[in-house]
């Protein structure tokens, strides 16, 4: 829950910032902090003794976590937009 509070404080402050320079600096901060966290995650996984053995199962699990939400999102959004939004025939025709 802490992270939501921190993010909301950021949203409030962000509302008052109008300088383009700040946006550029903010994007760099995001990139650096993301890279640092992903790197730390890599170090943590890599230092596990049985990491190489677990690699295949990690890949299969990741695939399941990718394909199901993606396909389900496509069908749910298709159903909702066809049912509730105008111009449902809008496609390459």
């Amino acid at each position: 829950m802490d992270i939501i509070i921190v993010m909301c404080i950021g949203i409030i402050i962000g509302n008052f910032i109008k300088f383009k320079q700040t946006k550029i600096i903010n994007e760099k901060i995001q990139l650096i902090s993301t890279i640092a966290l992903i790197f730390a995650m890599g170090v943590n996984i890599g230092s596990k003794e049985n990491f190489v053995d677990e690699l295949a199962s990690l890949g299969i699990t990741s695939f399941i976590f990718f394909i199901i939400p993606t396909i389900l999102s496509i069908f749910v959004v298709y159903f909702l937009t066809k049912r509730f939004m105008d111009g449902q025939k809008e496609k390459g025709e």
Binding site: V6, M7, T34, L37, G46, E90
Partner: protein, 198 residues
């Protein structure tokens, strides 16, 4: 962004496998809480700095929430299905699918809040979702409808996959795509946090 984060993951893995240890690494790995807070604060500033979001929401009325709502509900439901298939507790699996394609944030956050293994699943699965979107958008535009092109892109529909929207859909869908990305991006950290507290 993809190159940087994937490189960071690979280098991190190699450092971990080699069991390299020094003061800089120790400083980094022991301060991930602080880094996560900085990231979340920065994400908040990005959202807060978005111009005219409320005006656009009023202009497009309540219907603009249909697509993000569909994506969020589908991703959340998919988390339960994935939990059944993999045996991962549903609070974790729904948190992973709540990434909605934002692989960097979901991977980093779940890695910090749960563990590195689940963080890497979140990272890889959401990265696959983003890459898959590039290939599937033209097919969806042809076979389904333009609006549905936004679905696989999820939270990335305002930035990385936007060029595909520009190329294969129309102006109206591109605007909805940007708004969908902003709404989904806003909800990703909130949903991850809420799912983990289930």
């Amino acid at each position: 962004m993809v190159i940087y984060t994937v490189s960071a993951l690979i280098i991190g893995l190699l450092v971990g496998i080699a069991h390299i240890n020094n003061s800089v690494l120790a400083l980094l790995t022991s301060n991930t809480d602080l880094i996560l807070y900085i990231l979340m604060f920065s994400v908040g500033i990005s959202i807060g700095m978005q111009d005219d979001v409320l005006t656009k929401i009023k202009q497009y009325n309540i219907k603009i929430f249909i697509i993000p709502l569909g994506i969020i509900v589908a991703s959340f439901a998919a988390g339960f299905i994935c939990s059944l298939l993999t045996g991962i507790p549903y609070s974790y699996s729904t948190a992973i699918t709540s990434g909605m394609g934002w692989y960097s944030l979901s991977g980093a956050t779940i890695s910090k809040l749960v563990n590195a293994e689940l963080g890497s699943i979140a990272f890889l699965s959401n990265l696959m979702r983003e890459i898959f979107s590039f290939f599937i958008i033209p097919f969806i535009a042809l076979r389904f409808n333009y609006y549905t092109c936004i679905a696989p892109a999820g939270a990335t529909s305002e930035d990385t996959t936007l060029p595909m929207m520009l190329k294969y859909t129309n102006e109206h869908t591109v605007v909805l795509s940007v708004l969908n990305g902003i709404i989904c991006s806003f909800f990703v950290p909130i949903l991850i946090s809420l799912c983990l507290s289930l």
